[in-house]
Assembly symmetry: C3
Homo-oligomer: 346 residues x 3
Amino acid sequence: MKMTLSSLASMLGLTLKGEDREFSGLNTITDASETEVTFLSNPRYVKFLKDTKACAVIVSKEHAGDVRSAALISDNPYVDYARAASLFVREQGEFSGVSELAWIHPDAEIGKDCVIHPFARIGARSKVGGGTAVFPGAYIGEDCVIGESCCIWPNAVILAGVTLGDCCVINSGAVIGTDGFGFVRHSGMMFKIPQIGTVELADGVDVGANSCIDRSALGATSIGDSTKIDNLVQIGHNVKMGEQCLIISQVGISGSTKVGDRVTMAGQAGISGHLNIGDDVTIGPQAGVPKDIADGITGGGSPFMEGSHYMRVAATMPKLHEMNKKIAQLEKEIDRLKALFSQEEK
Amino acid sequence: MKMTLSSLASMLGLTLKGEDREFSGLNTITDASETEVTFLSNPRYVKFLKDTKACAVIVSKEHAGDVRSAALISDNPYVDYARAASLFVREQGEFSGVSELAWIHPDAEIGKDCVIHPFARIGARSKVGGGTAVFPGAYIGEDCVIGESCCIWPNAVILAGVTLGDCCVINSGAVIGTDGFGFVRHSGMMFKIPQIGTVELADGVDVGANSCIDRSALGATSIGDSTKIDNLVQIGHNVKMGEQCLIISQVGISGSTKVGDRVTMAGQAGISGHLNIGDDVTIGPQAGVPKDIADGITGGGSPFMEGSHYMRVAATMPKLHEMNKKIAQLEKEIDRLKALFSQEEK
Amino acid sequence: MKMTLSSLASMLGLTLKGEDREFSGLNTITDASETEVTFLSNPRYVKFLKDTKACAVIVSKEHAGDVRSAALISDNPYVDYARAASLFVREQGEFSGVSELAWIHPDAEIGKDCVIHPFARIGARSKVGGGTAVFPGAYIGEDCVIGESCCIWPNAVILAGVTLGDCCVINSGAVIGTDGFGFVRHSGMMFKIPQIGTVELADGVDVGANSCIDRSALGATSIGDSTKIDNLVQIGHNVKMGEQCLIISQVGISGSTKVGDRVTMAGQAGISGHLNIGDDVTIGPQAGVPKDIADGITGGGSPFMEGSHYMRVAATMPKLHEMNKKIAQLEKEIDRLKALFSQEEK
């Protein structure tokens, strides 16, 4: 795709200072070539302005004077970079209509303007909303409801009875609706607790590549509006998660835990089952959460501690061996003092 | 599905107290609607009996009097709930016979009453036992032996030469038999150790969605009878695991480790390679196990510690910073005492 | 496959001592049957020589005298075992040519001697190099460049615009090129930062089963020559990784981190974003890395500590509770000493 700086400026409402020209894309301030536009948002990167090869920089008024190429002056360079980038998003899966190589049950309902790719599979009585794309190898079970404008990427699996709102994105290899892990070892045998519930995703939920959301034993595992889940995340059965959460890669949430709204969980954090995690909670990377967390708490560590407390404990951790040695020294010194004291007493 | 309370009672051998009626399913005591049955097993939930909307409660004799709707009196409400739930398990993958859209090598043997879905792929000389279902996108390599009544869910991958017993469940996206990770960096080059072994699953093994079990370098990676593995678990090459283990989500077990029978590993635990983990061991969430563990041990932490010891260490962890401050104070006080003492001596 | 000991000896340049015979494969010293060859490399296993059933042992001159069956004398038994094993690697995916059941865009270019299996999907303008195999269910997006002699295993997903060098192996269920996790919660809304970059793998890169490598926001996420990535690994957007790295299972690397050459990361380690990890760094299992690491450092722990320091801290950890108790005792003893002292002063 080719575009001119002036047309970009007019689309985004920016002021172009410098010569108009064609450009081919966007890139970072250090990696941009002469045919690419970059942006300056983080003040730490001002130093790179003098060496960037970019043909134009989306920049605040304040720093526009430091730009050697063309400047695209913006009130919020980060937001305008994101808006510019959205013009360059690569379309994926060039295809239209419903492939004859897809397997669609005659009782499934496919909405208007859906794209159903070859080797997709859609089960009986499932409804796929208008404008939704189902990529090759994606599997949709029986009695599913898929909203409008969803994207079900290659080899994603949505098992029977699962419900998705509008504008959901299920990335490649994600699995929604496998049986929750309900087994009981009892009198020398292994019993399975039937998982007869389902999974419900509200509108605008993203599920990352190869992430898993388990079907509940009873009722539904549910994820609220606009919650975004990264890759390789495990969400156990009967979890109820609120809106606008950000769940980073490799997090695991055990069964029946309730998670509030606007919760952020950093990579590899693990949350035990049957807990209540409040609204606006932020959980650090690799944290281990064994107890409820109240609204608004930020923290980390295993076991989970509140923010500044956790920072102090983490900073102390590398001193652990030294601490132990000091304790031994103190013991000796106290023994010596006691000896001296008792000697003197005599 | 619709059923009456009296027919449920007669199927499960329960006593119905109260009016007979139709119901449509089961749900939890707090979420059940007027057309659903619930159960009371955990005494903590007795308080919900007065407000539940359920049309009937599976309940012990002891609590039957507190039920406001119909009661289904049971000697073991949890077991009878599980038995009732099994009547409501949703059938998945409505299809029968062998699809013409599957790719089956002419030398593969497909047993009686198998369901082979569209886009499944079964390789040369593989044998699929009677009553087994192979879902869309599932891949079975060459020379595999798949037992009877197995379920190979959508997009699961079973590579060449792998053996499964009867009644195994391979969930969506699970990968059985990839090459173990055998690489050696040597004299400026990277060498691969060929992985010429295989994977053998005994009867009744479940492998969770997107879990991986690697092919051994030599011999077989093996998993014993009725062992259940959750989602996103990694089992390295040459691991030998016993019977009736429960391996929870995101656990990683490194190569050549031996795991006994009835071992439970909680979420995100990591086990080093070449270890012996005994029978009846329980390993806590996020534990890091660098050494052998004897039979019957329960514990957690990183490095792994035995139960009550680990609990004390974990409870002390949040005091770490405070401990360090106290040590500094004690040092000062001892210095002061020493100074006072030497002053006095003079 | 059947082969004689003498033909193996001549292929690998080994000296056969003992009777020639046919054998059927290789196995470990403890598990080999009478028709299998084994090897002795680790001196810890010398004790097994007397009981092994193997019909021959690849062994150093030093230990050849202890072998009861035939000996295949080698200067480097481990390397010669690996070379012997490579003769027994099972061929997978018996198929040749381009399947009529694959979906290949007319504008894709398929090189000489490629094997394109049924249900594979290759998008517009993508180029697949000669000798590459694309297994069933594998997805290759638009405008991809796949080098020569690559293996794209079943159900692997390579999204649009991704580039692979020669001899890359993308294992089953791996996902290359999903959108990086770029979301911003702002004034009550969730915004997505478009991810318009790509992923570039150099020559000889292996990506494990169900691992994920995310597309960059701008520019490319890149992995250097001969780097080997195990199963269930997450590599965030804009990560730049060097050559000959070994990234073990379930590691997570956050966005924009730079990793040098010959770096080893053990299982379940987590690396924060925007860091610089130097060359020849080794990071232990479950380590949490919040800061840059200089060249050549080995270490572990969370937060990451250098080697011997970390070992001491890890060894002290189980004493934490005891340390806390000692501190309390010391406090008491000091109080007593102070009391005695002040008493005496009076």
